[in-house]
């Protein structure tokens, strides 16, 4: 019985930051799709350490948010969590099932000396009001701030405009789902020799959606259908979802639609002239277009085309809705409040204009502070769109501007312990349906019911995993489990009987020998 609670006292902001002591902090970050991001982190750390020579920061880079999540979870048990960590709010909700694991930031933010823009800071930090409110709001869990936003992006639709026009369509001001489906269907026409009319190649996937969980979430939210409540009640298994899935199934059946998991990176297809609509994060903009600074495919496979960056398709073009996503920063609690304070200082430093600017320009990200967004340097950056195909790559800047222009239209989904699973489940529904269609299975009511229950089970959505969880009533043992237990029992009885029989016969035989 050694796995009891590791009680940690709640954090209280110290009066004074003790500059006479040395602090060693760990910072877990994800380096995204670009090696330059690593350098920016390192630069930021170096600059910060120059300001605070008594604080040293160790950077550990991950390639996947999931890995960060897993490692944090395992490190909670050994009390070796990092000090600062880049993560999704969803994950924070799970970290918080332990008491006082994650530091609530309300007091810190408001602290006069060391709070946001506080007067004892050695650098120019943004004030609370300078953080884009929508983005900051995303960081509240149960009424408290548990994170600061670090970068934000949304999804964009990258379009091969040439193809759309070749098919006889013109792009509307705001994309609608109907438009996309229609054009995509039209693009599936084939020549007699099996090649596609549109591009003359063997391959054409008119519409690829990279992140199917976002696809499902946005489609539901755009229709005001149920996804989940704030408190974590799951509503995704509803009729709207079914309708969506039927639609997707229909277009997957005609091969007009595919996903990243099934095919591959949308950018590869788009650039190779094998795709018309590619929906991917704005953070992936540097890969998109024939002049993209980063390409995955052979140069000779890239086709020349006019690219258009637009907001994701909508059901109601007048009230566009799109997801806001991107990493946030959270701070883990430590026994030493001074250490937490040091972490907080570093966290704030990551919101300073330079860091924000530098990081945002690596990809189609948007700085989370108004200060950075409005800074001259950033404006200058935006204005130089298209100057070259690297730093000022037009698609990348267009993607950033997309979010800047639609900040009001972004939304986020409720965060609770289990929201990650729900998100995964949402994507899984689309993946499954698409896969089934490609295998020529029939997608009907029975299929849907089955799908719902399987996905619910897979992500443990059918049970209560609240932290103070109680034994759920699990019902009778499934027949297979029963079979397993009975088989084991019977086998052991037989083994014991056999051994006893052997002993008896050995004893009986003994006198004869």
């Amino acid at each position: 019985a050694c796995h009891g609670q590791r009680e940690q006292t709640a954090f209280e902001v110290p009066q004074e930051f003790d500059m006479s002591r040395n602090y060693e902090l760990t910072f877990w970050a994800k380096n995204d799709t670009n090696v330059r991001q690593t350098e920016i982190y390192k630069q930021a750390i170096a600059d910060f350490e120059a300001l605070y020579p008594n604080i040293s920061i160790e950077l550990r880079l991950y390639t996947d948010y999931g890995d960060i999540y897993n490692d944090v979870i395992t490190n909670i048990s050994t009390n070796t969590t990092p000090n600062v960590c880049i993560t999704y709010p969803d994950h924070i909700a799970t970290y918080m099932t332990g008491d006082n694991v994650v530091v609530p930031l309300d007091d810190l933010m408001d602290d006069e000396k060391y709070g946001l823009g506080g007067n004892e800071l050695l650098f120019q930090a943004p004030t609370k009001s300078q953080i884009v409110p929508q983005f900051l709001d995303e960081c509240t869990i149960a009424g408290h701030y548990y994170a600061l936003p670090f970068m934000r992006s949304t999804e964009a639709c990258y379009i091969n405009k040439d193809y759309v026009e070749a098919l006889g369509y013109t792009l509307p001001e705001t994309l609608t789902w109907d438009f996309i489906w229609e054009v995509s269907e039209a693009a599936t026409a084939k020549n007699a020799d099996g090649t596609y009319v549109l591009n003359g190649q063997d391959v054409m996937i008119p519409f690829i959606y990279k992140s199917t969980d976002n696809m499902m979430i946005q489609m539901l939210i755009q229709q005001n259908a149920g996804y989940s409540t704030e408190t974590g009640d799951i509503q995704i298994f509803n009729d709207t979802t079914k309708d969506i899935l039927y639609t997707i199934a229909q277009h997957a059946g005609t091969r007009a639609f595919s996903t990243f998991k099934i095919s591959s990176y949308p950018a590869n297809f788009l650039n190779a002239g094998q795709c018309v609509f590619a929906i991917d994060s704005t953070a992936g903009a540097t890969w998109m277009g024939s002049d993209a600074p980063l390409v995955d495919i052979a140069e000779e496979a890239v086709v020349d085309f006019d690219i258009e960056v637009m907001a994701i398709p909508q059901y109601d073009p007048d009230h566009p809705k799109m997801i806001s996503q991107g990493p946030s920063l959270c701070i883990f609690n430590k026994d030493d409040p001074q250490e937490v304070l040091a972490s907080w200082l570093f966290t704030q430093y990551l919101l300073t204009n330079d860091v924000q600017m530098d990081y945002a320009t690596t990809e189609g990200y948007v700085p989370v502070t108004l200060a950075a967004q409005e800074s001259e340097a950033y404006q200058d950056y935006l204005s130089r769109s298209g100057e070259d195909n690297d730093m000022y790559y037009d698609v990348k800047i267009a993607a950033s501007e997309l979010l800047l222009n639609h900040t009001q239209d972004t939304f986020i989904t409720p965060v609770f312990n289990g929201s990650t699973s729900l998100r995964n489940a949402a994507g899984q529904l689309i993946e499954e349906v698409t896969k089934s269609m490609r295998r020529d299975e029939t997608v009907d009511e029975a299929y849907m019911d089955n799908l719902y229950s399987e996905v619910a089970a897979l992500y443990h959505l059918d049970e209560n995993t609240a932290p103070s969880g109680q034994e759920a009533d699990l019902g009778p043992l499934p027949p297979m489990a029963k079979g397993l237990l009975i088989t084991l029992g019977v086998v052991w009885i037989l083994i014991i009987l056999y051994l006893i029989a052997g002993k008896i016969s050995a004893i009986r035989n003994q006198p004869h020998e």
């Binding site: 760990t26 877990w28 380096n31 995204d32 799709t33 670009n34 090696v35 160790e58 550990r60 390639t63 996947d64 490692d71 395992t74 490190n75 048990s77 050994t78 070796t80 063997d202 391959v203 591959s264 990176y265 590869n268 190779a272 980063l294 390409v295 995955d296 495919i297 052979a298 140069e299 000779e300 496979a301």
Partner: protein, 291 residues
């Protein structure tokens, strides 16, 4: 004389059958050899395809006309592969050395010395073979962390040292050394430890070489534990490296570069194996013969 001719016919038929049998055997063996070799061929082939060409391939190509060593360069530059190789070498050697010493002592105790409870302890040892290592990782992680040994070679090595199977293999092997030698050495005034060192180990050298190499292979490929226990790239092993390259090349799954990395890290093992092939085979079979 007639009977004689019948014999000749039978003889002829037998010869014919033998030939067919030979041919079938060779075909079968060759077929399996191809199945075995193909993934290796594919690995090497992919490692010399350029990233772009690989991604734009419409049908998998069985050969490439424009091999590139870019992937190898990438493998060495995007991650500090040399450092990882070095780490892995240190880790593998340290683990193996300790493991061999510990296992040899234990196997010697089981094979040569008599003490109460020997059979019981040995049975318990053997039953530990049934435990999947994934199971104990988590507690070990806690232990090692509490000992403050994360991101140290000590932390990497210690839990990897235990190896019931090798103790078992060695014990079986030791038992095949005639008891007489032990008695002779005793009469000659040799201590137990000296006997172990001067007689037992030299005689069982093939097996010891075998377990050494098998353990090195195991260490070389180990992934779960190193990943968990190191978060400092200064202690990363090659398997972490592969995983990193796999995802990290350009932030995307860069399979050719990964294959290049795999080729690079496999080469030492394959060379090691080719050098000690005879000894490994002899050792494994010797240890195994008693089942």
């Amino acid at each position: 004389m007639e009977e004689h001719e019948v014999y000749e016919k039978i003889q002829h038929k037998t010869n014919h059958r033998n030939k067919i049998q030979k041919a079938v055997t060779y075909i079968f063996l060759t077929l399996w050899a191809l199945i075995v070799l193909f993934p290796f061929y594919w690995m090497i082939l992919t490692s010399v395809k350029s990233y772009g060409a690989y991604n734009a391939e419409h049908t998998p190509a069985f050969f490439t006309l424009s091999p590139t060593i870019q992937n190898y360069i990438d493998a060495f530059t995007t991650v500090p592969l040399v450092g990882y190789l070095l780490n892995t070498a240190i880790f593998a050697v340290a683990t193996t050395v300790i493991m061999v010493i510990v296992s040899t002592l234990a196997a010697y105790a089981f094979a040569r010395l008599n003490f109460r409870g020997k059979n019981l302890v040995f049975t318990l040892f053997l039953s530990l073979m049934m435990i999947p290592s994934e199971l104990v990782v988590i507690t070990n992680f806690v232990t090692v962390t509490n000992l403050d040994l994360r991101n140290t070679f000590v932390g990497l090595v210690l839990p990897s040292v235990t190896s019931v199977f090798y103790i078992y293999l060695l014990k079986e092997n030791f038992e095949q050394v005639p008891d007489e030698l032990y008695r002779a050495a005793k009469v000659d005034g040799t201590s137990d430890l000296k006997y172990l060192w001067k007689v037992m180990i030299p005689i069982c050298r093939p097996t010891i070489i075998t377990i050494t190499i098998l353990k090195i292979i195991e260490c070389w490929n180990s992934y779960v534990w190193p990943r968990l226990i190191t978060d400092d790239p200064a202690y990363y092993l090659v398997s972490n490296g592969i995983q990193e390259i796999r995802e990290n090349g350009f932030g995307r799954e860069n399979i050719p570069a990964m294959m290049a990395a795999v080729v690079v890290i496999s080469v030492p093992l394959i060379v090691l194996f080719l050098i000690f092939r005879k000894k490994i085979m002899a050792g494994v079979s010797q240890g195994g013969t008693k089942g």
